[in-house]
Symmetry: D2
Subunit: 359 residues, 4 copies
């Protein structure tokens, strides 16, 4: 390398203007007492097998309206042999940009092992290098020693479990020793088994992008799509706020049009996102105006019908849409209930959330 | 027509759900003491030579974030001979939907004559039928008798003035008799002659879509485009507020990326839309962060250079973008001014607005 | 109306340039011996309860890449009382533009009755006015007398059947008397009952937009969506070709990402749209390149697994995409079959098409 | 690094499916005897100050429909100190993917010096490491020794020439010694001075992206935009074909809606892209149908008017659009010529190409 010319050049090489960024925004209601943070806690850079420089992950998060990310480069898989560096480097490089853009950056690493136990993310660690250990249990112990929040990533990943999604005794051991706190319910695909485990074993539901490419290669933003993310219901918009919420299991997963999570959280989102207004326009007609104040979509499908009412079989409430629904009263009914399932709000594996709205 | 079956059918024919609408929003700053209303005051329906039912114009305005429209069907050109109706019908039909959606609907008609004097819109009239007169001056008199605000439409329209844009004595006569108050500075194309007339003769600058088709056939919303509109700086978001502002010439025209108008209004928009933050990062570097809080674009081009500063030749501030500009100090300068023209803010015909920002 | 000025004006009023149109294109493979025509045979204009002038329907079809449409204004429901005209007018007005743009326009009308028998389209009629009859059977007889192809529209429409989708004896009567030839399997929503009836009763599967608004109000083209349409496998791209194919039941329905139809047609589309190329890169790895030569999407989900192979659980082949799939051989297998369901190719009600691809 | 587990892991870590790519296509006509290749011959990766892994540049080119790219990492500016590698590495890493996707990859490097002489790309080199030299003339000599095609990049770059665009004697020296063959006429901004130099000094016109970020960060593909590129009129779609064309100056620059180049090439593109069809519909009217068979836009503005004809003042022919223009004959003219400038086809600095079309 030419040392002297380079340093002379430096003063002149900064591009002017540097670049433009447009801060994105994802409208999802806050819950009582909590802010809803949009988080993607699993992604890669050139420091493992990813294809972008760490700062790109901050720029992406800023543009898309995320509040927080974790870069979780693989400890045991670093195919770009031109790069020789500490496992802490991707965090260090991204951290300055994160502060500049107001993105919360959480230090993490992916412990990358054959199944069992498969791949796990250790989040909120302080030294990623300490996770490089010959035996996997030693890596988990190093993470636990740093009070990490540990997530089992993509249990349904075909290369490791091509035809089944099994919970193995190694996972029981990790759980019992306090070395597993969450599971990815979505990583590219939805995993209903993970969903059930979270409910049964009191694990935190996670949904992440696991992005390796520039994000636009995988997410069709032109078509209004978003990346998979974890909604974290936090007491404050800080790393500590996220940490406390994760350990308390206050999350939901936002994947395509789906919101997946505990019913109590999903119901509150539903209630806060939609406002309903009914007006009886004649003796047999109620005109219902539904206003969606969020970026979420709601796919409603009639459940058990109320014979006094004639209303939609299925309807979709679009983001920020104002919909007019006409409800007919049969016979001399004086009212009744719209009874439907929000098909894309999953409160049990592959099962939507039932709702009733009084007329 | 089958009378009885039809009426029986009516109760069952209302589609459920009726439809979904998403209210649009155009972020342009309000001026001190005024709200900035986005208005399109020239368009057509099937009641003259347009291709849509009047309610469609309201739906379009709602989706695009307009505050007010005028349907201005031609008095003298009604080629759809299957439709026989009063000139007031398109207003009457649209009015109910306008109230429902919160759009201000202004009653208008287009007096459609050969050149001179060409086509003129009469706005804020009370009875459109009265404008149907053999002699054009009688039509204008009928409009004036209703206190109409009258606009000369598209003086540059090729079928009427293919190669010139002339102000004729008939226009002087209309102006002097209080029968012309505004001119379209943009109708599909920008007309620099109209721009100059507005400055010289104290006419109100108007820019409208003159839409005949469904709006999406002409405006590429997928590419983030908007229709041409008149920005009205009104004391209140009411028809009366618009009327008072039009007669007081408090408008600008928003056409593609251009804003066209009096310098005092454009400068205030510029100042309210952008926030500048400078920080000296070392002895020769100032880091300038510009945040655009609007949907407007600003195309900056360096004007006379300040030899103490090194900065961009041209740069574009995108809607809602946050831009970082690097400014270098030459020699031992202690500051200086960014001096540039906002090329797309036209304060004179084809001439941008000059701005200076202190470092 | 002012007769003389109007006619003088006419020469000057034609807008220059008139308008621009971009011909759309939908890539779906032709079948052996047939061309695949994209048809929407159910829509409305201002001549019944629609909101656009008839020519707009031709412009829309041209832009979207449709080959044929039918305007099917209601006989018994014409709420726009300003328009008094023969039921043949919307066809007549659209026909000139159709020829100009190369769109096949089929004359039709919607016989619009309470349930039973509900709404039916009569296609390929010669005189729509003859369908205006007090008794519904007389309307059907008039259609049959013109050799019409008759379709039962949206049997699942909530205002007529809010909670059930029943086939009634009136429908049996129509079928037996040669007055019902097809059923809408999709009209906004998919109707699995219609799907089954088509299989059981040898009816033709139809899917149409039933558009009332300008099409862009209902279809999100910016997001790459398309309107619901009927794919007609015709011997020639003519009205007669479509007619012959409809009576021979050679159709499929294209709705969102779904293709719905007889398995023989869907399998041929699948085979012609995708090309597969396998290459064994080492002793345990086969690299499969799948190229999609169509605008269709294919959502593949693994069916019964072949224990010798490790491959995807689910994958989506995007329009015109080239995908690389990695297949691992277990043990010392020498090959095997990818066995999956194309979830969005419905060959039975709500049931995808099973496919196997040899490695 | 853990050697053994890593190698064991490798067999399981390959993601299935790997990824999907959709090959893009840019429709620009071929010229007689030549194919029109879309080339971007200036861009960066993490191996200098770029932000993506080299293979990303191939994926981007494939998606966007480019035929050829050159990765031109800086020799003298490599701020990512975690990466220590030969200057040939970015080429080597990208080459395998390039072959797989059918993209022509040209080896290049950017000689990155203060002004004068500024930054230059050396293309078609065989060993990038040989360009690392203390004195800039030695770097240029090393490039020349490898028969490189050498391009002066962005002479108008503000950090090096903030207020002027001067040709200096160092550039004359490079030119005379056969060490400069082309100049960038566009690099983010259009540089009219470069345009003039190319005409005067017989240099090849180049337009490139100089991309550092993932391409989507800088180019708004959702709005139908494309990156800046060099159109190369080559005898064959090979690296050698591009090389021969570059040395023979057979290029044009495609930048936003602009095409910039020698008039002979632009005129042939214009003629091959558009087909004109005229039809006299009555004694005073000619109906002109213009069909655009390309992805280019044509912005036509009337030049000196032919007093016998009435036609558009300005019109825009959109990509793949079919436009209907109405031309009126005045008096008893029997024809004439449409005379206009294609404003976005620059054949001289800031000057459009004049065209006449016989009626």
């Amino acid at each position: 390398m030419l040392k002297k010319p380079t340093s002379l050049l430096l003063a002149f090489l900064i591009a002017l203007p540097l670049f433009a960024q447009v801060r994105g925004k994802i409208d999802i209601p806050d819950l009582d007492g909590y802010v809803t943070l949009k988080c993607d806690l699993h992604m890669h850079t050139v420091f493992s097998d990813g294809l972008v420089w760490p700062t790109v992950r901050i720029d992406e998060a800023y543009r898309e309206g995320l509040d927080a990310i974790a870069i979780t480069d693989h400890i045991e898989f670093r195919p770009h042999t031109d790069i020789v560096a500490s496992h802490n480097r991707s965090y260090e490089i991204a951290q300055e940009r994160a502060e500049e853009k107001g993105i919360i950056l959480i230090r993490g690493s992916e412990i990358t092992r054959r199944m069992p136990p498969g791949h796990h993310n250790a989040l909120f660690i302080t030294d990623a290098d300490s996770l490089e250990q010959p035996e996997y249990m030693d890596a988990f112990r190093a993470a636990k020693a740093q009070d990490a929040f540990i997530v089992w990533n993509h249990p349904h990943w075909a290369p490791q479990q091509p035809d089944t999604t099994l919970w193995m005794e190694e996972h029981t051991e990790l759980l019992e020793q306090g070395m597993m706190h969450g599971v990815e319910v979505v990583n590219r695909l939805y995993c209903p088994e993970s969903h059930q485990w979270c409910l049964d074993k009191k694990l935190t539901m996670m949904g992440n992008s696991d992005m390796h490419q520039p994000i636009q290669s995988d997410v069709d933003f032109c078509a209004g799509k978003h990346r998979t993310m974890t909604l974290v219901f936090a007491k404050s918009a800080t790393a500590e706020g996220i940490r406390e919420a994760l350990f308390d299991r206050r999350t939901a997963v936002y994947y395509n049009e789906y919101v997946i999570g505990e019913e109590k959280y999903l119901r509150e989102i539903f209630e806060k996102a939609l406002t309903w207004k009914s007006e009886q326009t004649d003796s047999v007609t109620i005109r219902v105006t539904v206003k969606n104040n969020s970026d979420l979509t709601f796919r409603l499908k009639k459940k058990q019908h109320d014979t006094r009412l004639v209303y939609f079989r299925e309807t979709t409430i679009v983001p920020h849409g104002e919909h007019i629904l006409i409800v007919k009263l049969r016979d001399d009914a004086e009212g009744g209930e719209l009874d439907f399932v929000v098909e894309n709000f999953l409160v049990l594996p592959n099962e939507g959330m039932r709702c009733k709205v009084k007329m």
